[in-house]
């Protein structure tokens, strides 16, 4: 098996996630994974090409963190992000990459922990493909 660390890209709405807190909690000392965070002014800013470029430049998996439904500051940014996440999932399937490499999480009351749980689940999916 390839021993290189997994590269995980986290695209997130800047209004819904404290990335410093996330970095402190998310296996800071583990050397088997690299987390790259990309902050967006709103998850509605996400374009399909951002996600594709992430995979093209070596991401093993991508997590998209949006505000909770009904809580987007720009009203529908998180809904658009959800649609685009679905579109990219379909495109990844066409390409032949496992659909499980792209996940979306809506920030709830769990805060940073919700995202960490999803990151762990994403890593598990990538490491043990069905």
């Amino acid at each position: 098996m390839n021993d290189r660390p997994l590269e995980i890209y986290l695209f997130h709405c800047s209004n819904c996630l404290d990335t410093e807190a996330l970095r402190r909690s998310f296996g800071e000392h583990e050397r088997d994974k690299i987390l790259k965070t990309i902050s967006l002014p709103c998850s509605g800013k996400l374009e399909l090409i951002y996600l594709l470029k992430a995979f093209e430049s070596g991401a093993d998996g991508v997590l998209l963190a949006t505000c909770k439904r009904g809580e987007c500051r720009y009203l529908e940014g998180n809904l658009r992000a959800q649609k685009r996440s679905g579109a990219i999932g379909a495109l990844l399937e066409e390409i032949g990459l496992d659909k499980g490499r792209m996940k979306l999480v809506q920030q709830g009351e769990g805060g940073v922990q919700t995202v960490i749980d999803e990151l762990d689940s994403l890593i598990e999916t990538i490491r043990s493909p069905s």
Partner: protein, 222 residues
């Protein structure tokens, strides 16, 4: 405008198999508006093909370019220097654009990256519908501006067929009955009397059935 959809990535990979230096060529006109072959889609398809090349063990080298209009030699000419550098062109233009580029480069493969679907309009965000079949002999003036050739699944000039349910087409229940629309429109503009006239069988010779069509305007040919 002309409305098109992109081909699936596995089909594109199959089309491009065996080629190395590939230029994905977008068009800035109709296919940009219908979100199929403009600059943004060129980036998306190119990126997807690069990933597919890597995962599938192909050897594609893919670059991107979008020109103003692929169906016009003037704009193709502007891109000539770039196009020369590639083994093959994957055109994201409509069928006319692909052929215009192919005719300009007799010794270079030019492939279609899109399936050209129809002449239509943007109905609402992300939804396009067909409005014109380019039949070559427009009858819109007789039907209140609603085309029975395109909007009626049976292309009836003397409708309705009687199979519609409520206002839905029996062939495509997700689409309104074209003849219901014609009736409502003619009633709205006070021209229902037009429906009393029986229309003769349509002459399809000005359409594609009469062979590949051409228009010559001598007054513009000096």
């Amino acid at each position: 405008m002309i409305v098109a959809e992109r081909k699936k990535i596995p089909e594109l990979v199959e089309i491009l198999q065996g080629h190395k230096k590939i230029l994905v060529l977008g068009c800035g006109t109709c296919v940009t508006v219908c979100l199929a072959g403009g600059e943004r889609e060129v980036s998306i398809i190119s990126s997807a093909l690069r990933i597919a090349s890597k995962t599938g063990g192909h050897d594609f080298e893919i670059d991107e370019l979008t020109i103003e209009r692929q169906c016009d030699n003037v704009f193709i000419e502007e891109a000539a220097e770039t196009i020369e550098k590639y083994d093959v062109i994957l055109s994201l233009g409509c069928g006319a654009g692909v052929q215009a580029v192919a005719e300009r480069y007799a010794e270079k493969p030019v492939y279609a990256g899109l399936d050209t679907s129809f002449i239509g309009v943007l109905e609402e965000r992300g939804v396009w519908t067909e409005k014109c079949a380019a039949c070559g002999a427009c009858v819109l003036h007789k039907y209140g501006g609603i085309c029975p050739i395109t909007r009626c699944a049976k292309h009836m000039l003397n409708g309705p067929c009687g199979g519609s349910r409520e206002d839905r087409c029996e062939v495509r229940p997700d689409r309104p009955c074209g003849w219901q629309l014609i009736y409502q429109r003619l009633r709205g503009i006070g021209e229902l009397d037009r429906l009393k006239k029986i229309e003769a069988t349509k002459d399809w010779s000005p359409s594609l059935d009469g062979g590949c069509r051409m228009i010559v305007r001598e007054d513009h040919r000096i």
